[in-house]
């Protein structure tokens, strides 16, 4: 059975005249790993600071473990925070950094030592680092110390403010895996703020996409990817194709027909249509990996576009083809696994086919 550990109820936040959050509501379950994702300025960091108690909402309430957090300071909340720039105490050793919350709390000495040792083991920190100053550790090690300092007092909710944004790609990958493992081991609720949807998909059980101070969609990673609530969510990850189509409501679904490229009109179920669609035009969302490059158009009315190959990139595990299609203002992108076999030349006419099974429509570009 799932218990809500944290409830955000119609929270708004104004800074002067600027509305950073606008009636945001969100329930987070105990032990869950949730990611708040969005472009910079979307309000995700403001929301995190409100959860931590560094800022207070202009309107609305936050409840943690059924307790109203109005006027409760960060120290008194069962939350701990991992800061964007880590905020390790530069004048304290690694061990002193990790012990700091326990000392403040007045935890008995032997218990402090035991817990610090547990943290060292969990974070895979070498014991000889105990008496080093943070400045002498690598970026990844500093990250682990910051995590240890936040987790050592056994918070119910761990808040992470883009803790990996400053790391290089390779280190980031390995720390993401570590974070997942640590979450599994401690079982505490993790709330991660990130602008990287891919990172969120890797780590989180649920993702909350925010835009302009509002929640755009909350859902499982697969839902965010396959059935995005809005065009914005659809386009937030990687590169995506949008193909204009006409929409005609039919029963609880709709029939779509291509306005660019070819294909027989197709009936979509209600679940294949974003809730934001109104009117007769929409965009068909086609992920590059769902596109197949072919030499000839499919018979039997299968959906496809025809275009001229403008560029191809080898990405190692896959190859990306970019097509100029008349009627589309952006390149149409196809991605197939493996190396390019070299049978298509740049400038050649090619056909890009896509399967009806993964059709999903979002509102057209405004």
């Amino acid at each position: 059975m799932k218990n809500a550990v944290l409830e955000v109820d119609a929270v708004s936040k104004d800074y002067g005249g600027f509305r950073a959050l606008s009636r945001v509501s969100l329930t987070i379950d105990d032990g869950e790993f949730i990611a708040l994702v969005g472009p910079s300025g979307c309000g995700k960091t403001s929301l995190l600071k409100i959860l931590a108690g560094f800022e207070f909402p202009t309107e609305g309430r936050v409840r943690i473990q059924d307790r109203d957090m109005a006027g409760i300071s960060p120290a008194e909340r069962p939350t701990r925070m991992v800061f964007q720039k880590l905020a390790l105490f530069p004048h304290k050793t690694v061990e002193e950094n990790i012990r700091f919350p326990l000392r403040i709390e007045g935890v008995p000495e032997d218990e402090q030592i035991r817990r610090v040792r547990t943290m060292f083991e969990m974070m895979h920190l070498k014991p000889e680092y105990r008496h080093r100053y943070p400045a002498r550790l690598s970026g990844g090690e500093q990250q682990r110390v910051a995590l240890a300092r936040a987790l050592v007092s056994y918070p119910r909710v761990l808040l992470l403010d883009e803790p990996m944004s400053a790391l290089d790609a390779k280190l980031k990958k390995s720390l993401q895996a570590e974070l997942k493992r640590i979450h599994r081991e401690v079982g505490t609720t993790f709330v991660l703020v990130t602008h990287d949807l891919e990172e969120a998909m890797m780590l989180a059980d649920r993702i909350c996409v925010m835009v302009a101070g509002k929640i755009e969609q909350i859902g499982l990673p697969s839902e965010i990817y396959r059935t995005p609530a809005t065009r914005f969510v659809a386009g937030f990850i990687g590169e995506t194709n949008f193909l204009p189509v006409s929409v005609k409501a039919e029963g609880d679904g709709a029939v779509i027909a291509p306005l660019c490229g070819r294909g027989d009109p197709t009936k979509l179920a209600a679940g294949q249509i974003a809730p934001t669609i109104g009117g007769e035009r929409a965009d068909l969302l086609i992920r590059p990996e769902d596109v197949r490059i072919a030499a000839e158009a499919p018979t039997s009315g299968g959906w496809h576009v025809e275009g001229e190959l403008t560029e191809k990139f080898t990405k190692g595990s896959s190859t990306q083809y970019r097509l100029r299609v008349s009627g589309l203002d952006r390149d149409f992108i196809a991605e197939s696994t493996g190396f390019d076999t070299g049978h298509i030349e740049i400038g050649q006419k090619v056909i890009a086919c896509f399967d009806r099974a993964c059709f999903y429509v979002v509102e057209g570009a405004s």
């Binding site: 120290a75 701990r80 964007q84 390790l88 105490f89 530069p90 004048h91 700091f100 709390e105 943070p134």
Partner: protein
Amino acid sequence: MLRLQNRIIDWALVGGTLAFILFLYVPILTLVLFSFADSRVLTFPIEGMTLHWYAQLFQNPNFYNALKSSLILALITMILSTILGTGSALAWMRLNFPFKRALQALSFLPILFPQLLLGVMMLLWFSVLRNFIAVPMGMITLVIGHVIYATPFVLVVVSVQVHGFDAAIEDAARDAGASEWQVLTRITLPILRPAIVAGMILAFLLSWGNFYLSYSLNGSSQTLPIFIFSGIAVGSSPIYPAIATLNFLAALVLVVIAEKMRRKATRRLAGTES
């Protein structure tokens, strides 16, 4: 050809800098030399070496009084300027308040202003003030003048360090349950300590060597620079080079400590940002 030209420029720069350093130390070395000269008149070449003038210096009661005044004044100035300067540096960095920019400009005025004029204007102020409250010219007025002059320097030194100090570090301590007092005493002040100590030493030296402000504000009490000035105005004596030599030795120790602290501070800052 170009290469040769570049080398000449390089060596001219190095030579010029060395010449400048030499220039800075000409009067200092001259004084040290004469403090050991075995002659009542300060002429060169000197005839012999002696420690006689140091002995005579310590038998001079006026010197003792001036030394005592200077020491008390410099210590009080150091303590007050450090507290006020550190407080202001923290407030400027962390707070927004009305007239903040005006206050900042005002705070730096004492550095940018001719000290003599500052002293004279304060002297006038105290003299008029005397009609309402009794402010005896002397230690109190000296302290006020010196604190106003030295605090901006402390402020600058501490501000530089506050500037490179991520405010999230304080939030991390609050998040870990620390009270405001604990944040201040366990996190903020210890991190700023090197800069605060450097600022303290600077304030001490600025007060210790100050002439222009003291000249207007001293009333009847004599500080060391005033004692020396009134002495050399009458006629030179080898006890002044002896004072100078002792002074340099003490200042040397303080400057070395201050520099060590400053470097420690920059190292720490570099560490947290890597």
